[in-house]
Symmetry: C2
Subunit: 185 residues, 2 copies
Amino acid sequence: MARKKTSKEEILQHSIKLFKLNGYYNTSMANIADACGLIKGSIYHHFKSKEEIGLESLKYIHKYFEENIYSIAYRKNLSGLKKIELFVKKTDDYFLHSEGGCLLGNLALEVSSENILFKDEIREYFLNWEKALAHILEAKYTQSTSIELAQEYVALTQGTIMMMTLYSSSENYLKVGQKIIASMR
Amino acid sequence: MARKKTSKEEILQHSIKLFKLNGYYNTSMANIADACGLIKGSIYHHFKSKEEIGLESLKYIHKYFEENIYSIAYRKNLSGLKKIELFVKKTDDYFLHSEGGCLLGNLALEVSSENILFKDEIREYFLNWEKALAHILEAKYTQSTSIELAQEYVALTQGTIMMMTLYSSSENYLKVGQKIIASMR
DNA sequence: GTCTATATCAAGATAGAC
DNA sequence: GTCTATCTTGATATAGAC
C-alpha cells in the first residue's frame, strides 16, 4: 500500500489543532508527526524548524480571516448592517467550531513576549480585525468612536473565548456578536 | 558569607514572574532556580515537582485576590458605588503593575485543557471574581442582570489585558474599570 | 517523501555529601 | 538548606538509505 504524500497544509492543520489544545511549547515535533501519521524526522522535509511551523500556523489562520472575514468590511454592495451581520456570523462559525479557542490569542499570551516574529504576526492579525470592524462602524459612528467600539469588541471576543474554553460553554460567547450587531441598528 | 535561606514564598514569586513572561512549559526548573540564586536540584527541597510550583503559584494569586479584592464586595460598611470604585482600583493596581498580564488567564489558555488541577483552580478564581462583582451589582440590578454584567466585565478585562500585553499600552485597559463604575452610578 | 538511526542538548527529578 | 553529581527521558534537529 503506497504511502500518502503529506502536504504542508495538512501538517499545518494538524499542528494548529495541537497548538490550540496543548500549547505551543507543550506540543513536540513527535506529537505533530504522530497526528500526521509520520515519524518526527520526516516533518523536517517540509519545515526547517518548529518555529517555522508555529509562524506558518499563525499566518495560515491570519490569511483565512483576511480572505473570509475582514474582507467583508470592504465590500461595496452591502449595507453596514448586512456587513456586520455577515462579519459576526463568519466569526462565530469559526470560533464555535474551533476546539481550543483562538490560536493567535493563545500564543499572544504564551509566546509573544519573547518571540518577536510571532508577536508581530499576532499584532497584525488583531490590528486588521479592529480596522475591519471600525471600517464597518464608521457608516454610523465617528472614526474615533468606531475604533474604540472595534477594540472593545475584539477584546471582549477574546476574553469570552477564554471563558468559553474554561467553562466549556458557548452561551456568553454568542451574546458578544449580538451586541455589536445591535450597535449598528 | 552565609547563604540566605530561601523561602517557599520567594520561590513562588520568582516562578510567577517567569510563568507570566515566558509561559509555564517554557519555564524550566533551572530558570526558576537561577532567578532564586539557587541550583535546580535545590528547588526540590521546597517543592516536590514543577507541577506543584505551578499549582501553588495559581493558589497564591487566587488567595491574594480573595483577601484583597473579592472581599471588598462583602463588606458591610460601604455603599455599592464605593465598593465598585475600590474593587476596580485594587484590580487596576494589580494588573497595571503585573508584567506579563494575568497568570490565571495565561494558564487558562496554555495548560488548562490538559491539567485538571490547574483548570479547577483557574475556574474557581474566575467564578469567585464574577460572584463578587455580581454581589456588588445586585444593589442596583436584578440577580440575573448582575451576573451577566459581571461575566461580561471579567471577560472584557481579560481580553483587554491580552491586548495590553500585545500592544504594550494600558490606555484601553483603564476604560474597562471606568465602565463598570459608571454602571453603578 | 518517508524511513532508520543518531547526534546533541536540556528537561524533570533523585541521592547523598557538606 | 544548598551543593555536586547523576539518572532518565524526551526535545529539536540532521544524515543518509530506500
